[in-house]
Symmetry: C2
Subunit: 326 residues, 2 copies
DNA sequence: TTGTACGCGTTATCAC
DNA sequence: GTGATAACGCGTACAA
């Protein structure tokens, strides 16, 4: 890899001139310009981003911290973040915390030490007081962080209410919610909204991990202990596990049991029957988070507001048709 | 963020001493050591990785280039790579090429310019002659690159053969393979293996994109033009789409049609009926690729060999039981 | 219009 | 044992 000095030598100018040509700053004669351009091409010169970062104190890197990349929700989010970042000339460093506080902490330290320009965080631990001490700009995505940190989520409370209303409207009257870990505020809201509308029709409210294997256990527990005809799962993976277990037990969906998920990931279309779900605008959420972050990075003061995007029901085949319910 | 100079000042020593303490190199008196440690703690000093990279010419970063992170196969791979990298003190930069040559090229340039220590590449374009000119160590994962580049794949040829044999053994005698883009050598092998064993039982061989939507189209095309009772899909996503379309058309699986996928991603367990598939050792592949890369980075000369891991059939419910077939 | 020289934060090589 | 000091490659005052 050649350096700016070699280019200067080949072009018979000084490094300053090369730099000026590269960054299109300051005056440089046409003759020098073409000589430099020529030399750059000849040597396949690309500026060393490390040295540049050191000087400029910006790295062009955005850290994206997710709890579990094998949960398909996060790749879709990551994809949106990456697209937007790429569009603005940033690169994304993706880190997996495994839901472990320790790993999250390590990654944040590490990313700060490598001078990322900003951080998008989709994990949170209520007992973590550190976010306020982080010097780089942060945006929280899908989860809510303490402190004055801009946040992007979907309206889970409304989503929960819509799910309950939808099930009731379609003839289910014994409702269950399989929530995720309720220590996550965004998750708790989904359950709260659901329970409020479900009212006296609520049969049970249980918790499940987000990963498929754990959700299978939760679903088995549910069917062992309760009977119901309408289930709201806190995410689509849990819904898929629920459907899987129902199928094993010979419970007909949607005839005997209606299921509605949350997220709107592609998985919902892949399973049979295709999943009715409360869809978050995942791509927009990722884009918005990235956009907010980049604005902050580039100096615009943005309010530490909470952006709560609306969700909508996508009706597929794990719920009854309106005309079937009668 | 405080610098080494500030630490030196607080501890009343020179920066050299601080550096020695940090890196545990060279002699330093116990008294100086505790003073430095004390100062480091007090200032919450962490060395600037950018400056360190500039000097050492290593960044502690590994670039991982994938074609599509929303295809669940790649997150599982990424997860393995990341775990192994993390274990050795490296961080992973994940980049999405969208199967576009242009983006891949940009990312590689960019990653080189930021002095990543190595590259793991899971995309390839037969018309890309550039890999040989890249200066950092490279390992190819799941795809085969030209030039003397170590490669990790699964034995797709054997996988294809196993799939055909399995279908034949379970009573299917009109076989179809829905392959992925055949310009990818690893994909082509799966098809070749299948076709060889299928022999005169092969009814059709069609191609499909890897993403779900495209695979739906391919499956519809298939059912419009051919009849068959055994399908081998080049990956699990295509298999899921095929099953979806079959369900829509009222084709009973596995009674009328048996389906076998390839990959062994978690999705296979999530769909109904659960998917019989040729499982790659995904996690091991990711680990191995990362391990090979790190070995090369750290100076060990490793042969540019092709590591081809074995695959195995995971029998689930999209194929008939042996005892049912009669 | 162009070149010299310095600083960014770190590590390594010398003298002391 | 320890402290100056010279790199690493880049960008930019400032002088020419």
């Amino acid at each position: 890899m050649s350096t700016i000095r070699e280019v200067a030598k080949v072009a018979n100018v000084s490094v300053a001139t090369v730099s000026r040509v590269m960054n299109e700053k300051g005056y440089v004669s046409e003759k020098a310009r073409v000589a430099v351009l020529q030399a750059i091409k000849q040597l396949d010169y690309r500026p060393n981003r490390v040295a540049r970062s050191l000087f400029q104190k910006r790295s062009g890197l955005i850290g994206l911290i997710v709890p579990d990349i094998t949960n398909p929700y996060f790749p879709q989010l990551a994809r949106a973040v990456e697209d937007m970042a790429h569009k603005h000339g940033y690169q994304v460093i993706l880190c997996n915390t495994d839901e472990q506080f320790q790993k999250e902490h390590e990654y944040i330290q590490s990313l700060e030490a490598m001078h990322v320009d900003g951080l998008i965080i989709t994990t949170n631990y209520s007992n973590n007081p550190n976010y306020e001490t982080i010097e780089v700009p942060i945006v929280a995505l899908d989860r809510v962080l303490q402190g004055a940190i801009p946040t992007v989520t979907s309206n889970g409370y409304d989503g929960g209410k819509k799910a309950a209303q939808f099930l009731l409207d379609h003839g289910a009257d014994e409702l269950v919610v399989i929530s995720g870990p309720s220590k996550l505020p965004t998750i708790k809201k989904r359950r709260d909204g659901f329970e409020e509308v479900a009212g006296k029709h609520l049969v049970a409210s249980i918790e499940s991990p987000f990963h498929f294997q754990g959700a299978l256990d939760a679903a088995n527990y549910l069917f062992d202990h309760y009977t119901c005809n309408g289930i709201f799962a806190a995410n689509d993976v849990i819904a898929a596990a629920t459907i899987q277990v129902a199928a094993e037990r010979g419970i007909a969906i949607p005839e005997q049991l209606q299921v509605i998920g949350y997220d709107g990931i592609e998985l919902g279309q892949m399973i049979s029957p295709p999943l009715t779900t409360i869809a978050q605008p995942i791509y927009q959420m990722g884009e918005l988070a990235a956009k907010l972050l980049i604005q902050r990075i580039e100096g615009k003061e943005i309010a530490a507001v909470h952006h709560e995007l609306t969700v909508e029901v996508i009706e597929r085949e794990t719920t009854k048709r309106k005309d079937e319910q009668i």
